[in-house]
């Protein structure tokens, strides 16, 4: 769907993209990732010609974009950015309908499409008449996504779209994007610097450094076969799949449901309901573990729903440590009838969760191999 053929991009003598060759297949969600300055955003902006390459060719849908009017091209390629960039003077409806309007659709067609779109993300119709500033960041970015989807572009470019959102909203939007892509079969090129995000959503991860691709592979391949030291370091050792279940880091999952201690009780309850969990691990703003709260605790408390979690009296817990033996933790969870334990590193920063089922799954993988 998108081909980069020997693409070089340089500002003067400074080379940002160095003879890049990349093929994004139709229907794939490809994540471009790498340290800042690696050229991932530039690569993305080359696709909709916000930036022109110095050398080389880029083909979108088998057409060399050199020969396409950039304005025409951009209208056929969805674009979602970290700043969201909703037009503040237009209502949500007008924002969603902007590209159809640019393309001269009639009112009826626009309205029908908007209807489809809001059903796609279960957006309440009352929001249509509101202005962007009346929505939360997460809601705004949902609209940003709808705006990009409006004229059903086969390709969508996303530039750190969830980078400015809080962790909980980010996670729910990540889930949404995965679900949407499965249903709509869009080709998505997604830029992020967050490895967890990449692993979570990507069909294929393209790791870049200094304008070059270091490794491009499916997440699993990348985790089990990092091409070199740089890849290993960038992925983070705790995520690497070793095939053995020795330490907690090997068996933990990063799908932990955490809440900052300043979160209000009502939000905490909503989060538990959404995640279908009976309790939450509480962290502070630097992700240091504070303890846990349960739904009973909240229900029994006489605090108002706007009060912060920390006011309720957080229950201290002893976490699992990432380099602790998995066996030890498993034994403890069995003995104390614990379903889930947060995993922390040396600095008491929460990095994941072990559940009884995650341990069982890891053990099964060791015994029968990775079949998923």
């Amino acid at each position: 769907m998108v081909h980069f053929v020997n693409v070089t991009m340089a500002y003067g003598s400074h080379i940002v993209i160095d003879k890049l060759n990349l093929h994004v297949e139709e229907g794939q969600l490809v994540v471009l990732i790498g340290p800042s300055g690696c050229g991932k955003t530039t690569t993305l902006q080359l696709i909709n010609r916000l930036i022109k390459p110095t050398e080389g060719d880029i083909l979108v849908n088998r057409q060399n974009i050199k020969n396409v009017d950039p304005v025409e091209l951009r209208r056929k390629v969805g674009y979602v950015i970290q700043e969201i960039g909703l037009f503040p003077h237009m209502t949500i409806k007008q924002n969603i309908e902007i590209v159809p309007r640019l393309l001269g659709w009639d009112e009826e067609r626009k309205a029908a499409r908007t209807e489809e779109l809001i059903q796609l993300v279960n957006l309440d119709r009352k929001y249509l008449k509101r202005y962007p500033s009346e929505l939360s960041g997460g809601q705004q970015q949902r609209i940003g996504l709808l705006r990009a989807l409006a004229v059903e572009p086969p390709i969508i470019l996303m530039d750190e779209p969830f980078g400015a959102l809080d962790p909980i909203t980010r996670e729910s939007l990540q889930n949404e994007i995965v679900a949407l892509q499965k249903r709509l079969k869009k080709t998505i090129v997604f830029v992020t610097h967050d490895m967890d995000e990449a692993i979570k959503i990507a069909d294929r991860i393209v790791l870049m450094k200094d304008g070059k691709i270091v490794q491009a592979a499916a997440s699993k391949e990348l985790l089990s076969n990092p091409a070199n030291e740089f890849v290993e370091q960038f992925i983070g050792r705790h995520r690497l799949y070793s095939g053995k279940a020795d330490t907690v880091a090997d068996v933990m999952s990063d799908e932990i449901v955490c809440a900052e201690k300043t979160l209000s009780l009502i939000e905490a309850v909503a989060l538990m309901r959404h995640k279908k969990v009976p309790g939450l691990f509480v962290i502070d703003d630097t992700k240091k573990l504070q303890g846990k709260v349960s739904i009973e605790q909240i229900r029994k408390s006489e605090l108002s729903e706007q009060d912060a979690l920390e006011t309720i009296g957080i229950e201290q817990i002893c976490p699992a440590f990432e380099n602790q033996s998995a066996r030890e933790v498993f034994d403890r969870m069995e003995a104390e009838k614990i379903d889930a334990l947060p995993v922390v590193d040396e600095a008491n920063t929460v990095i994941g969760v072990v559940t009884r089922s995650s341990i069982v799954r890891s053990l099964a993988e060791v015994v029968w191999g990775n079949q998923s």
């Binding site: 951009r74 674009y79 950015i81 700043e83 969201i84 960039g85 037009f87 503040p88 003077h89 990009a148």
Partner: protein, 203 residues
């Protein structure tokens, strides 16, 4: 009493023509300056200096070219209005959030569409502020026009002062005052309305 209406109309005519000229010249110039930083800095120094010229001095300078009549006052108002119109329009147009512009470009807006659909509507409240400031101060300046022989409400005020006729003076002063309050209020209302619609976060 019968003098007031014609004087008021002539006062408004002088005020509007002056400000209108500044708007007609100022808007496209400000749009042009977005991409020309050096020129902008130079131009702003000049308009700022113009703004600094005392009103009576300005009127006499312009008078030397245009003579003792309304045109002189209109030109002076035009010169004074350049600063608020140009500055506010420029700031309004240039301070539109970069992400918003990038989003517009990214979804395939042409440069013209980015200007007409994003920059201009978002800058509209600021532009109105510039116009409001210009009109209110122009109403005052137009009264001073009487010194160089122009018409308007200043004539009534001046005659009243000279003859120590309080009523005559007030018959000129009150309309000027009310007009200033009216424009301040009405245009301010428009600005608020536009701002409310956008609810731009204060950065």
């Amino acid at each position: 009493m019968s003098n007031i209406l014609p004087a008021m109309l002539s006062h408004l005519r002088i005020t509007f023509l002056g400000v209108l000229a500044a708007v007609i010249l100022g808007l496209p110039t400000a749009a042009f300056l977005i991409r020309h930083d050096k020129l902008r800095k130079m131009l702003f120094i000049i308009v700022d200096a113009i703004q600094t010229v005392p009103s009576l001095a300005m009127l006499t300078f312009v008078m030397l070219i245009f003579g003792l009549n309304d045109t002189t006052v209109i030109v002076a108002i035009f010169l004074y209005s350049l600063f608020p119109v140009l500055r506010n329009t420029y700031v309004g147009l240039a301070s539109v959030d970069k992400g918003t512009i990038r989003a517009g470009k990214g979804i395939g807006m042409t440069d013209l569409q980015i200007f007409s659909m994003i920059r201009f509507p978002l800058a509209a409240p600021m532009i109105l502020t510039g116009i409001r400031l210009s009109i209110v101060s122009a109403l005052g300046l137009a009264t001073t026009g009487v010194f160089i022989g122009a018409g308007g409400l200043g004539m009534l005020i001046w005659r009243g002062i000279q003859t120590r006729n309080m009523g005559m003076m007030m018959s000129g002063a009150v309309p000027v005052f009310l007009l200033a309050i009216l424009f301040e209020y009405v245009i301010g209302l428009f600005e608020k309305q536009l701002n409310k619609r956008q609810r731009r976060s204060i950065s």
